[in-house]
Symmetry: C2
Subunit: 738 residues, 2 copies
C-alpha cells in the first residue's frame, strides 16, 4: 500500500505538463476567480461568492441582534429550485441565494487549484485574494459548523432533508478537498478548520446510532474527501464517517426513498417514486449495498468519486471485501465500459455508464469530469496495490479525455468528449446530438468540468508518484519532467535523515526516452550509517519502482530497455512484478536510470462485442490516442479507410512525424464560441496509408452494390486532445478499415 | 392526370393482399371496436365513444331545456390537458371528456376501415353496429355543424383557439375520410352529411375574408380529406377550403404565433415562444409558405398528409407552382430521406424527418403512420403524373414498413420500425432507445398506427389502379390478385356503355408472374359501335398502362418480358413512357396479358453520404426488403459479413428459397407483450454467402488489430415485414460486407 507524496515533495518541471500547468495558472485560475465573482462579461453569473457574502451578512445580523438582545428571525425556505436565478439579472437581491444548489463548490474547486499552484508557484497577490475569499466563506459558517449557503439562505429548517438531490454533502466534500489543498499548499489552517467544523457537525448528525440520520451523499465525493481530511489531521472520526457513508449506501430500507416519502409527507405533497431506468437508484449507485456492487452504473462522475472513496476506505480499514468490490468495479469498467480515449460514461441519459460494451462513438457522453473521476479512482487503486494496469488507464484518461477538455489557449472547454463528430449532426439540433459540440464552449453557469480539470492539472504530480507505507519504495507511475523527494528515515535515532531526490527528464508523450537522476541530500548532521567510506559518498538503501507502460510492449522486454549503472556496479538488483520494475539496493548521489521505452504505433481494434467499433481501428502511440480531423483529411471521414493490412505488415508504413501544431480559430458567434487564440505547440502526428471512397454525385440514395472506387491517400492523424483547435470540423477516432 | 377507381370497382381477390385484408377484417376491426368502447381488458381505455355519448347527452339536455323554455348552461372550459384521464378509472364521469385531444379520430379511422370492408364483404351485423355508432356521433354534433367532443365537453367558448396543438381540424379531416369511405362502401349519407356540416362550419370561420380566422390545421389531413369530400360531392367550396389551408400555411404573420400570443393574453398567461429546433415551426411544416418549401421537414406524418393534400390541390386547381413544390419535396424525400424499407422520419425527436442523408439504423423512428402517409403522397403524385417511380416507392413502403407494423396474427403492432435492433439496447432502457421495441406492442391509448394500417390495408386496391381523367386509360400501379372494372362510355349516346374488367392473378411479392385477363361486359342493350362483327365479339378501344417495376430492371428490357396476344393480332400497339407500358388499341373479351417480371436478388448499397450505411449492403428482391434475424443467424449480427464479392459475381450464389414461415412466440409479460399466435404463411427467404467473425472470449476490450478470424456461413434473410414474429431477438437490414 502506498500514498502520494506530500504536495511540496513532488514538482513538475518544464515540458509537457509544465506547459499545461502554466496554462491553467495563467489562464484558467484568473478566469475562474472572475467567474465565481460574476465578473465575466457575457457569461452566466455563478453567484458563488454572492451567496457566501449573503450568508456572512446574515451571520453578522444575527450577531448584532444578539448583542442588542433582539431576536433574529432566520429566513423561511423560499427557493426550492435546482437552479434559481434573480427575477432581474441586473439587480440580484443581496440577501438571496442564486445559482445551482451546488454553487458553493465553485469556490472550493478554485481554492483547491490555488492551493496546488501556491505550493510550487508562490504568488502573494493570488494568496491575498484567496485569503480574503476564505474570510468571506468562513464568515458564512453557522455556529454548529454547517456551511452550505443554499440552506443557510433558504431556511436551515430544511437542511439535510434532501440528500438525494441537494448536494449538501457534496459541497462539504469539495470544501474539504479545497481546504486540505490550501493547507498543504500554504500551511494556513483557517479554511481547514472551517471544513473540519462542517465535517464534525455532519459526523454528529449521521450514523447508525439511535437518533441519527442514516443518510449518505446524493452526489458522492465526501467519502474520499473525508479520508483526505483524516490523512492530514490524523483524526480517526473522519475516516469513520467516510466508512459509514460507504457502508450504509444502498442498504434497505433505502434512505433516499425514506427521505423522499418523509419530505413529501411534511410538505403535504404526493410522493413521486424515482423512475430512473433500469434501476431507480442506480443513477446514485444506491441500488444495492456498495459492498455487493460489481457493475459500474449510473452517473459516471458520482460513480468514479464513490469508487475512489471505497478504495480509500478499503485501504485504510484493510477491508478485503471492499477491496474486492473496487477490483470488480475496476474490471467491469476497464473490460467493458472504457472508451479507447480513457473516457467513461457512454450515455447522455443520466450522464451515465451504459450497459456492457455499449460504447457509441458519435453519441458518447464521456464527460471530462468522469475521466477525471477515473483518474482519481485509478490512483487509489494504485495506492491499494501497485499494478501497472491502473497507471496505464490513469495515464490514458489523463493525456486524452482529460486534456481534450480544454482548448490549447486555455479559454474554452469540452464537457462531452465524443469519439466521432459530424458537423451536420451538431448543426441539426436533433435531440440525439444536443450534448455533442464540435467546438469548445466558454465557461458555463454549471461549471463542473473546467475547474475540475484545473485542480487535476495543477496537482498532476500527485498522480506521478506514490510512496509505500513503509517509506522504503517510491513508485513512479507517470513519467513527467520534474522532481520527487523522499525523506528516508535514519535507522539510528541520533542521525539526521537523508532525502532522496529523483530528478526526471521525460520525452513523454512524444518519445519514450526518460532519464532519472538520484540526488542524495544529507541533513545538516552526519549520516554515518549510510556511508560506505571509500569515496566519501553515502549509500542509501531504497527501492525505486518504475512502471513499465503497457503501450511499450511486453513487460519483460520493456524492462530490458532500462539501463541502471548502479545495477552493473552490483549495488542494485532488479525484479519485475505487476508491471513495475523494482530496483532494490543502495543508492548514491548521481545514480542514473535511463529508460528507452519503445513507442510503436499501435493500431487497435475493439472487442467484437462492441458493435459500434466493428470493422474499425484506432491509433495509439505511447499514451496518446490519435484522431482524424476534417481540416487534415477532408470531410466525410466515414469515407476514409485505413489500409489495415499494409499497416499491419510493417510498422514503418506509418510515418511518425514531429510537427508544430498551430491552433487558432475564428469565433462562430458574438459570444466567442469556438474561438481559439493562435498558439502553437510541438507534437507528433501520424501519416497512415489509407484509401478514400470517391463520392459520385449522381448516385441515387440506393443502388446496386459495386466494388468501391477508391484512391490511395495518407490519413493524417493528430493527438485526440488537440482536436477542435482549428475551427469547426469533423473528427473521428475509430476509422473504417477496408 | 388520373383518379383511383370508385371503391366498388376495384377488388382484392385471394392471395397475399386477400390474406392481409382478411386479417384486418377478422382481427383488427373487431378489436378496434372494443378499444374505442373501452372494452379491452388490460388496455388503456380510449374513451372515444364515451366522449361522443357525453356530447350527445349534452345536446339532449340542451334540447330538453329549450323545449321547456329553460336556459341551458354549457360547460366551462375545464380540461386543458393533452391527455386527460379520470381521477378514478373505475368511475369516469359520464359527462366529461377523457383521453387525448384527438380521441374522436379513433372512431373516424374505424368507420373508414369498416366502410372499405363493407364495400366488398357485406356484413349486416357490422353494418348495424356501425350505424348505431354513427347515430351517437351525429347526436353529438352542434347545431352549427361543429363536431369535436373535446371542446363540446370542455366549453365551446375556446374552440378554434389552439389550432396548433389541439387537433380540431385534424378531427374534422379524419371524420370526412371516414364519412366518405362509409358512404362509398354502403351508400349511406348520414355520416357524410354530418361531415359536410362540420366542413361547412369550418369554411364559414376560416379564410382570408375580413372577420375570418386566417388559421389552418396544426396536424394536417383536412387538406386531402376536403379534396376527397369535394370529389364525392362535387361541391367546389370544399376544394376551395383545402386550397386556402395550403395557401395560407406558413405565411407571415405566422398564425400559430399570433394564436399563441392571443391565447396567452386572453388567459393572462406568459407567452412562451415555440422552441422546436432548428426552426420553431418546421415541426408543423409552417416555417415558410408551402409553395416555397423544398425540403421535407418536421413531424413525418403531418408532412406526408400535407404533401398529399398539396398534390391534390395542385392537380385539381392545375397549380403548376404547387406541383413543382410537391415534386421538389418528393425528390428531397426519395433522394435523401428515405429508408431502404420505404420508411421515413428518421428521428425520434419530433417523430420527424431528420437532416439530409441522416438515416440511422438502430435509432430510426420510421413510424408506421409515416410510411402510410408516404403511400398517400405517392398515389397522389401518380394522380398528378403517372411516373413509375412514385409507384415504386409506394409499393416499397406498403410491402415493408407498413406491413411490418402488424404481427402475423394481427394482434400486436409496431409504431416504430428500426432497421437494426439489439435486444440488449432495448432492455437497457437507455433514453436513446426508449422508442425502439423488439417485440410488437398491444393496442395503445394513443392508437394512431394500428387503425391507420387497418384503413390502408382494407383499401389497398385503391392504390393499385388509377383511371385517367378522360376515362380512356387504366393504370395498373400494383400487381395484386383481384379485379378492376372500368366503365367505358359509348360514343353513341343511344348505346349502352360497356364495362371492361381486368382480372389479375399475381405472383407478387414472391415471383414476377402476373397474368391479367380482359373481360368485356356488355350492358343489357347492344353495343354496336364496338362490334367488329366477324366473330360476334365486340372490340372496345382503350389503353391499358402497366407499371414496369424498377426492381425488375431496365424498363425496356422489362417491357420485353410482357406478352400480349392482341398485339400480335395487330389490334394493339405498345409504347413505354415514364416507366409504364402503354398498350393502346381495341380489346376483346378474353384478351390476355402475360408478365414475366424478372425478380433478381438486389444487393443494394446506400449513397456514400449516408454515413450509417458505409460498408454495408441490404438485400431486396422484388418489392420485398430482407433482414437477418437472430433466430436464423445467431446473435451479434454485426459479426455477420456478407461476401459481397461472391454475391456480386453470380446471382446464383444467393439461394432464393420458398418456405413456410412459422410465426409464434410466447408473451414476455402478463399483458401479453410480444406474444404471437402460431400462424404460418408461405414466403421466400434468401440464403446469402457470408462470413462470421469468431468471438474470442479472452480478448480484452482493446487489442492490436489482427486480420479477422472468420468462418464461412450462410446468412438466412427473411422478409423485413415478417420480423419479430418468433420472439424477442436481434435484427438487421443493412449487413456489413467484408
Amino acid at each position: 500500500r502506498s500514498r502520494p507524496l506530500p504536495l511540496r515533495d513532488a514538482t513538475v518541471g518544464q515540458g509537457f505538463w509544465g506547459d499545461e500547468q502554466e496554462l491553467v495558472r495563467t489562464q484558467v485560475l484568473p478566469f475562474q476567480w472572475c467567474a465565481l465573482n460574476d465578473n465575466v462579461p457575457g457569461a452566466a453569473p455563478s453567484y458563488c461568492m454572492h451567496n457566501f457574502r449573503a450568508a456572512a451578512a446574515q451571520n453578522r445580523r444575527r450577531t448584532a441582534a444578539r448583542s442588542q438582545g433582539d431576536r433574529f428571525v432566520p429566513p423561511v425556505y423560499t427557493d426550492r429550485g435546482f437552479n434559481v436565478l434573480p427575477d432581474d439579472p441586473e439587480r440580484p437581491d443581496p440577501d438571496r441565494f442564486y445559482g445551482f444548489v451546488f454553487q458553493d463548490t465553485d469556490f472550493s474547486k478554485w481554492i483547491e487549484a490555488v492551493g496546488y499552484s501556491l505550493a510550487h508557484h508562490p504568488d502573494a497577490e493570488l494568496e491575498a485574494r484567496a485569503d480574503a475569499a476564505i474570510d468571506i466563506v468562513c464568515a458564512a459558517q453557522q455556529e454548529n459548523g454547517y456551511l452550505d449557503t443554499y440552506y443557510i439562505l433558504n431556511g436551515m429548517d430544511r437542511h439535510f432533508t434532501n440528500l438525494k438531490d441537494h448536494h449538501e454533502l457534496y459541497c462539504m466534500g469539495h470544501l474539504i478537498e479545497g481546504a486540505v489543498a490550501y493547507y498543504e499548499g500554504t500551511g494556513k489552517t483557517r479554511l481547514l478548520h472551517a471544513a473540519q467544523g462542517f465535517a464534525d457537525y455532519v459526523a454528529s448528525v449521521f450514523g447508525t446510532e439511535p437518533g441519527r440520520l442514516r443518510g449518505y451523499p446524493g452526489h458522492e465525493i465526501a467519502e474520499m474527501a473525508l479520508v483526505r481530511l483524516y490523512e492530514v489531521t490524523n483524526e480517526r472520526r473522519y475516516l469513520d464517517l467516510a466508512a459509514y457513508f460507504v457502508d450504509e449506501r444502498g442498504r434497505a430500507p433505502l434512505y433516499f426513498e425514506v427521505e423522499d416519502r418523509t419530505r413529501a409527507k411534511r410538505e403535504g405533497a404526493t410522493y413521486v417514486p424515482n423512475d430512473n431506468q433500469p434501476m431507480p437508484y442506480a443513477y446514485y449507485q444506491a441500488h444495492e449495498p456498495v459492498v455487493d456492487q460489481r457493475e459500474a452504473v449510473g452517473h459516471a462522475v458520482r460513480a468514479g468519486y464513490l469508487y475512489s472513496g471505497v478504495a480509500d476506505v478499503a485501504r485504510l480499514t484493510e477491508n478485503e471485501r471492499l477491496a474486492d468490490t473496487v477490483r470488480a468495479l475496476w474490471r467491469n469498467i476497464v473490460d467493458r465500459k472504457l472508451y479507447v480515449t480513457g473516457g467513461v460514461g457512454a450515455t447522455a441519459f443520466g450522464e451515465a455508464y451504459s450497459y456492457d460494451y455499449d460504447l457509441p462513438n458519435d453519441l458518447a457522453y464521456s464527460e471530462t469530469c468522469a475521466a477525471i473521476a477515473l483518474v482519481f479512482f485509478a490512483r487509489r487503486m494504485l495506492e491499494l496495490e501497485p499494478k501497472s494496469e491502473y497507471a496505464d488507464v490513469m495515464e490514458l484518461a489523463l493525456y486524452n479525455t482529460v486534456l481534450a477538455g480544454m482548448a490549447m489557449d486555455g479559454k474554452s472547454f469540452f464537457y462531452v468528449n465524443p469519439l466521432e463528430v459530424r458537423t451536420e449532426a451538431v448543426r441539426s439540433h436533433d435531440a440525439r446530438f444536443l450534448h455533442i459540440k464540435d467546438v469548445r464552449q466558454k465557461w458555463f453557469g454549471c461549471a463542473c468540468c473546467p475547474p475540475n480539470l484545473a485542480r487535476l492539472v495543477e496537482s498532476v504530480q500527485e498522480y506521478a508518484y506514490t510512496l509505500a507505507d513503509d517509506g522504503g519504495t517510491l513508485f513512479t507511475h507517470l513519467y513527467i519532467d520534474g522532481m520527487a523527494v523522499v525523506h528516508v528515515l535514519s535507522k539510528d535515532e541520533d542521525d539526521e535523515d537523508v532525502a532522496l531526490r529523483l530528478e526526471v527528464e521525460s520525452g513523454l508523450p512524444w518519445n519514450g526516452h526518460v532519464r532519472a537522476v538520484v540526488h542524495v541530500d544529507e541533513g545538516d548532521g552526519g549520516a554515518d550509517d549510510y556511508g560506505d567510506g571509500h569515496d566519501g559518498k553515502i549509500s542509501v538503501p531504497f527501492i525505486f519502482a518504475f512502471r513499465l507502460p503497457a503501450w511499450a510492449g511486453d513487460q519483460i522486454e520493456v524492462a530490458a530497455c532500462t539501463t541502471v549503472p548502479a545495477e552493473a556496479q552490483g549495488r542494485v538488483n532488479r525484479r519485475v512484478r505487476d508491471g513495475y520494475l523494482y530496483l532494490a539496493g543502495t543508492w548514491r548521489d548521481g545514480d542514473v536510470f535511463e529508460f528507452d521505452f519503445p513507442m510503436p504505433v499501435m493500431m487497435l481494434e475493439a472487442n467484437l462485442r462492441v458493435s459500434e467499433d466493428a470493422g474499425k481501428v484506432a491509433f495509439v502511440r505511447g499514451p496518446v490516442v490519435y484522431c482524424a480531423e476534417e481540416c487534415d483529411n477532408g470531410s466525410r471521414l466515414h469515407c476514409l479507410h485505413v489500409d489495415a493490412a499494409r499497416v499491419g505488415e510493417r510498422a514503418e508504413n506509418v510515418t511518425v512525424e514531429p510537427f508544430d501544431f498551430k491552433a487558432g480559430a475564428e469565433a462562430l458567434d458574438g459570444k466567442g464560441t469556438g474561438g481559439v487564440e493562435p498558439v502553437s505547440r510541438c507534437m507528433v502526428r501520424l501519416r497512415v496509408p489509407a484509401w478514400r471512397d470517391e463520392v459520385r454525385d449522381a448516385k441515387p440514395l440506393y443502388s446496386r452494390w459495386h466494388p468501391p472506387v477508391r484512391r490511395r491517400v495518407e490519413a493524417v492523424l493528430i493527438p485526440y486532445f488537440a482536436w477542435a483547435n482549428r475551427g469547426e470540423n469533423e473528427m473521428r477516432v475509430f476509422l473504417d478499415i477496408s
